[in-house]
């Protein structure tokens, strides 16, 4: 009797094991083609889009000790389609494996298509798709997305998923590009009070670019030469209600990132005009933002007043005018200079958003909410309108944590 029972139980186990395969959702890694980057362009056909898929080859670089695969690390395919979800099926007429968006890292939309009214209608499909994760990033390319992926040929990180992951993460840490995840995109869109910044990128360098200060470039303007990949990630595209309206340079994007507490900006390196020199020298500084901004608002009255306090920790790295920072007086001068410099940069930028964009490109409206008791009152206040005529004051709290390693001037010969 006991034997029979044991056999029955064993059989039951075998039956249960069958369930482990996941029934209809059984997936074979061998059988999957993972799309890492998705490009969207306007199609020549009315109402259609051009979809570009960047597929990663999982065999390359995954084996330790460099396995024997000689296959290319990626495959790119572009075609016209109605939307990018059904395109998965169409793509299978070219790609041998089952196409999946599960590991999608970046969606690149060409600037031309992002300025189209049609764009947001097609783009909303992302929320319907079950594969796409909302931590995927949105980027705007200067050229066509299909050309962008082809011209983007990383020399060191040939595996596309690693390349985009590193490029985006370091760009966000430096503050050159905004943290433009789809999650933030749709959140901003649904909130309907602020604008959204998407990262700006290109793989086509401008002809005869100007030489500018370290962060004033747009993507494609940096004249980098050597043996390298032409792709540049710097600057951002401004979206109003899901439509691109303008661009911001790397410097402006950085300032917005400093103003925006919801992004994860580490420490950034900047050049600041040196107050001790007459011939426009600049010293380098490391700016660290460890605390949140303080925002206070006075929303009663005709013109709302907004006071923003930015606490910054600064480390002075270079000293081109050879000033002696051990003197208290010099310390005060440099402190004032940094505060004034950052203050004017920010106020100028916010003025630009008020007059040119007519909206704020980061969630500043969130701070206004606590001054209202109910949603009705808040809606009546109409943030979008009120912001344009608001009086904005920026104050920078500078704390200099380090004045550099060297104190003394080098001795000049013959003096």
């Amino acid at each position: 009797m006991k034997k029979k029972e044991a056999v029955c139980r064993l059989l039951l186990f075998f039956v249960i094991v069958c369930l482990l395969t996941g029934c209809w959702d059984r997936q074979e890694i061998e059988d999957k083609a993972y799309v890492i980057g998705l490009g969207l362009d306007r199609s020549k056909d009315e109402g259609k889009i051009k979809v570009t898929m960047l597929l990663a080859n999982p065999e390359v670089g995954s084996m330790q000790g460099g396995g024997g695969s000689t296959e290319k690390p990626r495959e790119i395919v572009s075609f016209d389609a109605n939307d990018f979800i059904a395109a998965k099926a169409t793509g299978n007429s070219v790609i041998s494996r089952d196409i999946s968006y599960e590991l999608l890292k970046i969606i690149v939309v060409s600037e031309e298509y992002a300025k189209d009214k049609e764009f947001i209608r097609k783009f909303y499909d992302i929320l319907k798709d079950k594969d796409i994760r909302l931590d995927c990033h949105l980027a705007i390319s200067k050229e066509k997305a299909s050309e962008y992926f082809i011209n983007n040929q990383p020399k060191m990180e040939t595996r596309p998923h690693k390349y985009f992951q590193f490029m985006i993460n370091h760009g966000i840490e430096n503050g050159f590009i905004p943290d433009s995840t789809l999650f933030r995109f749709f959140k901003t869109l649904e909130r309907g009070t602020d604008f959204f910044l998407a990262m700006y990128t290109t793989a086509a360098m401008e002809k005869n670019p100007q030489i500018k200060s370290e962060d004033e470039y747009m993507a494609g303007q940096l004249d980098a030469t050597g043996e390298l990949d032409a792709t540049q990630f710097i600057g951002s595209a401004v979206f109003r209600n899901g439509m691109m309206i303008d661009k911001l340079t790397g410097q402006e994007t950085r300032n917005i990132n400093i103003l925006d507490d919801s992004t994860n900006i580490h420490d950034i390196l900047v050049d600041i005009p040196d107050p001790f020199s007459d011939d426009q020298l600049q010293f380098a500084a490391r700016v660290m933002k460890t605390e949140s901004n303080k925002v206070e608002m006075d929303l009663k009255g005709q013109r709302p007043k907004i006071f923003i306090t930015i606490p910054l920790k600064i480390e002075i790295i270079s000293n081109p005018s050879m000033v002696n920072y051990t003197e208290k007086k010099n310390q005060q001068i440099v402190k004032k200079q940094i505060a004034a410099h950052i203050k004017t940069l920010n106020e100028k930028l916010l003025k630009k958003t008020q007059t040119k964009f007519k909206g704020v490109p980061y969630p500043l409206s969130m701070y206004a909410r606590k001054y209202f008791g109910t949603i009705q009152e808040y809606k009546k206040f109409n943030w979008g309108k009120s912001y344009q005529k608001a009086d904005i004051h920026v104050k920078v709290d500078v704390e200099i944590v380090d004045y550099g390693k060297r104190i003394k001037k080098p001795r000049t010969v013959g003096a």
């Binding site: 209809w24 749709f186 649904e190 969630p363 969130m366 909410r369 606590k370 109910t374 009152e377």
Partner: protein, 369 residues
């Protein structure tokens, strides 16, 4: 403490209660509340819990007169044979729909987020099959399993919440009163169904080791669950802000979004497994209580044998709605608006009848003797 055979202690009872009611935070309840009260939705569970306190207190008071009897026998005793039968039947029918719709919701979640291609019937059948197997084992087994996984379930839930805070902003909670104070009170009173499961626990009183355990467990569970629900909704509001109104199942959307650093992205499977176990316990307990009701109603002693048949019926009822939209936008709101008032009326009536019949006086006399 020695355990009596076939009975559950306070910790098992608490685990079942938390898994049954507390898991509401992981399905579509936050969204439903957000649509009603926008960013003040997190207050509703707390206000509703305060509202629920009154009928629940009256019910517990009435039940204390008849220790070791369950809700249905008390109803039949107090309201008479015929009226009592109809009231019990009503409660049973409401619960049939409640368990069917809820299990369908869970099936939809599993299918939408994890098993896209598997037919819904198969997932549903496996879910109900497992629950029926568990329910047939009896309340003591359910209690032990619930106690086994309760710590994992609660810990992982809070881990998910903590990870969610990385991308959220507390300002989303403002304007603090949302649609207005009056509206909040109104919505809270309309959402009494949030804690209606507590009334069902009065059915398993005879299986709980002592009446004191039941009373104490119920209050602890009510306070804890209202807080957990409230915290969950706060987290979701801070994370999703206004887009929460369009997200059907915020918990599952959130766990697909969060990651532990850059090295561990896509960690939803960790939460999914435990969530699934919690869901199984929830329906197992639900199924058991339903079978108990049915047995009590039609005087069937070995009601455990009914469980597979009942599970099949629930599966069939749950399969009727064509799309999840019908379910969460049309059918569930109707059910929710019925459940709350029903339990309110039933418990107050029971207490009134007991009072009029002078049962409380008898009790006192008995106590003094």
């Amino acid at each position: 403490m020695k355990q009596q055979p076939g009975k559950i202690g306070i910790r098992e009872y608490l685990s079942i209660a938390i898994l049954m009611v507390g898991s509401k935070v992981t399905e579509d309840t936050p969204t439903a509340l957000f649509q009603k009260a926008q960013n003040a939705a997190w207050m509703i569970p707390i206000i509703t819990a305060a509202f629920t306190f009154i009928p629940l207190f009256l019910l517990i008071k009435t039940m204390s007169l008849y220790q070791n009897k369950n809700l249905f026998s008390v109803i039949q005793k107090l309201l008479g044979k015929y009226l009592g039968f109809f009231v019990c039947l009503l409660i049973f029918i409401i619960n049939v729909f409640s368990i069917s719709f809820d299990s369908r919701t869970y099936t939809t979640i599993i299918r939408t987020f994890y098993f896209n291609r598997t037919p819904i019937v198969i997932i549903y059948a496996i879910l109900m099959g497992v629950c029926a197997y568990g329910a047939k084992k009896g309340i003591q087994h359910i209690g032990s399993v619930a106690y086994l996984i309760i710590y994992y379930a609660v810990l992982l839930l809070y881990l998910a919440f903590v990870l969610c805070t990385q991308d959220s902003s507390i300002q989303s909670l403002f304007p603090i009163w949302g649609p207005g104070k009056l509206e909040l009170l109104k919505q809270s009173s309309l959402n009494l169904s949030l804690f209606s499961e507590f009334f069902l626990f009065a059915l398993i009183i005879p299986s709980i080791a002592s009446y004191k355990d039941f009373r104490k467990g119920t209050w602890i569970a009510l306070v804890y669950i209202s807080i957990q629900l409230s915290v969950g909704i706060i987290i979701f509001i801070c994370l999703f802000d206004a887009s929460l109104k369009g997200i059907g199942y915020p918990f599952h959307t959130a766990i697909r979004f969060i990651s532990i650093g850059t090295f561990f992205p896509n960690i939803e499977i960790l939460f999914f497994v435990i969530w699934l176990m919690a869901a199984l316990i929830r329906f197992t307990a639900f199924l058991y209580i339903n079978a108990l009701m049915f047995g009590q109603l039609f005087k069937i002693k070995n009601f455990e044998f009914l469980i597979p048949a009942l599970a099949t019926i629930y599966l069939l009822i749950g399969s009727i709605p064509e799309s999840p939209y019908d379910l969460s936008l049309q059918l569930k709101p109707i059910l929710r608006s019925v459940i709350g008032p029903t339990f309110l009326v039933v418990s107050i009536t029971l207490w009134l009848v007991a009072l009029l019949k002078g049962e409380f006086k008898h009790e006192k006399k008995r106590g003094s003797m």
